[in-house]
Subunit: 332 residues, 2 copies
Amino acid sequence: MATQKEIARLAGVSVSSVSAVLNGTTHTRMSHATRERIEAAIAEAGYVPNDAARALRRQQAGTIAVVVEKLENPAYKELFHGIYEAAEERGWAVVLGDVVWMRSGSHFLARLLGRGSIDAIVLRQDRLIDEEVLAHLRARPTPVVLVERQADPHDSWIAVDDLAAGRMAAEHLIELGHRDIAFVGGEGQPSAARCEGYATAMRSAGLVSSSPVVTGFGPESGARGLDELRARGVLPTAVVVANVMSAVGLLAAAADAGIDVPGRFSVVGIHDADIADVVRPSLTTVKLPMRALGVRAVEQVSALLAGTPTELGVFTDPPPEVIVRSSTAPPE
Amino acid sequence: MATQKEIARLAGVSVSSVSAVLNGTTHTRMSHATRERIEAAIAEAGYVPNDAARALRRQQAGTIAVVVEKLENPAYKELFHGIYEAAEERGWAVVLGDVVWMRSGSHFLARLLGRGSIDAIVLRQDRLIDEEVLAHLRARPTPVVLVERQADPHDSWIAVDDLAAGRMAAEHLIELGHRDIAFVGGEGQPSAARCEGYATAMRSAGLVSSSPVVTGFGPESGARGLDELRARGVLPTAVVVANVMSAVGLLAAAADAGIDVPGRFSVVGIHDADIADVVRPSLTTVKLPMRALGVRAVEQVSALLAGTPTELGVFTDPPPEVIVRSSTAPPE
DNA sequence: CTGAAAGCGCTTACAG
DNA sequence: CTGAAAGCGCTTACAG
């Protein structure tokens, strides 16, 4: 409740001086005595800066929002961490939200669309977001960085190398000796790219890739994926699943159906998370560089805010990485 | 970038009128023609309100922050949802963050501690937060609601009935016929209350409760819990684990050790999450009313902000609920 | 029915 | 070395 004005009165100085000790950008050669008086007053009064006033005056809030689809997806843990670290380094606070909160009319959305409280948005969405909301977003001055492949040239996006991830997952299985390998994924972009990678690997090995099973992203999608695979006839000897949680769900469904993993059936999940280590059999995964993605996202935000051009698109530098656990083995 | 001033110029009216159509709180009997002209100008210019200016003027931001320990814990999914719904209903936007971001000196912390951009904080922490930060928090005017049992009478807190949850978990096992039941938990409050509940149930049944194994909250803690249990001598026939993810980890460790669950050993986890359904054997849990907790937290925030007294403490109304899955069975 | 003006709490040239 | 003043973009009594 104490304002700079009161601190000024308390210390017998002007607000300019108070602001100066708070920010250190002006009045740099202030007398030691004055500074001490001011600092004492600040401490005594328990002065807390008003971020709204500061944001209004500075024309920037110092906060970026990160909005993702399915906040509870454990694969985001590293992404958030990367974003947080990079943002702090550059002087921003990060706040999080879920895509489902971006309903038209919601206060959450209003805060994102409004100016003054959020400087930029990092958004990860698959297809859940409605087009109306996306259009709103595009129309606003607030920069938006999508961490996901996008077709629209107006969008600023970056993504991990999903194609390589799909390829590496399939290659791992091919190296083990599998020839009949399926792909289970969801709708939308990341899954499509991963599937393309899978198809590439199959082609290179002279194998035929079967048409992808499209389900979704949660555990239940994995179970449905297995159902569909079995409905198609003889179960392949291995599968690439576009998502960890789906892969875990598929593993459970296989156990329920009495299918021996990895003896009869090998499973690779794309994305990594603690859970992969905790299910039994533990899940072989292709780990995506999510932390690096977070860092790049923040760099992108920086660039957008500064008007500096930067490299958009897929980054391949920290490449995906196969983490072999117990859900894959040579075919019987 | 368009401001009300420009809209006013465009529509040939004063900013008061522009503000009036935006908020509807004043100039209620505006002529239809004027209103239409203003609305047209707003649409044409793509006017977006400046939340910082609004917050400064209104002396409230319309945003509450929710900060939890281990954002990736799937048990929070429902809590977040409850908070979001209740907050939206009351006109607030919600933003999320992780307790580890509350380091002294971080911009994230600055935003929480500062005034003007966050009206209140809902905080769930176990013991990760450092006391210095908590002291800061207590010293600020921003209301903080802790969703966790607290001893300090200065704190405003609410919590689910952890004691009942611990009791119900143990009772479920006792009903199945178990007599030798252990407890694995973490440090800190919620685990302690759950353990107390466990002990109560044991006592009521005339059984002796063994001293709790204290590990932590992640999957690895569950594994360590099992190790310690085995190190103590003959493995009990059942265990109550204070947290889902630990329980899942314990399940994995049991599988690795060749211990048959639930045949030789039954496991109940406290808290529920999708994952409980997806591991094999699926995990019997005591589901806590996390959504309701979220709603209460927001009510609490409301009350604090309004200065209205409300009921603090443990709420028992939607009680915890045992969800029987496949990790529990009668002892051999 | 509508507008002029004050003021929310800051930061930042500018003057002295 | 320090202060007076303008202004960021709103909202809200108040006057007419």
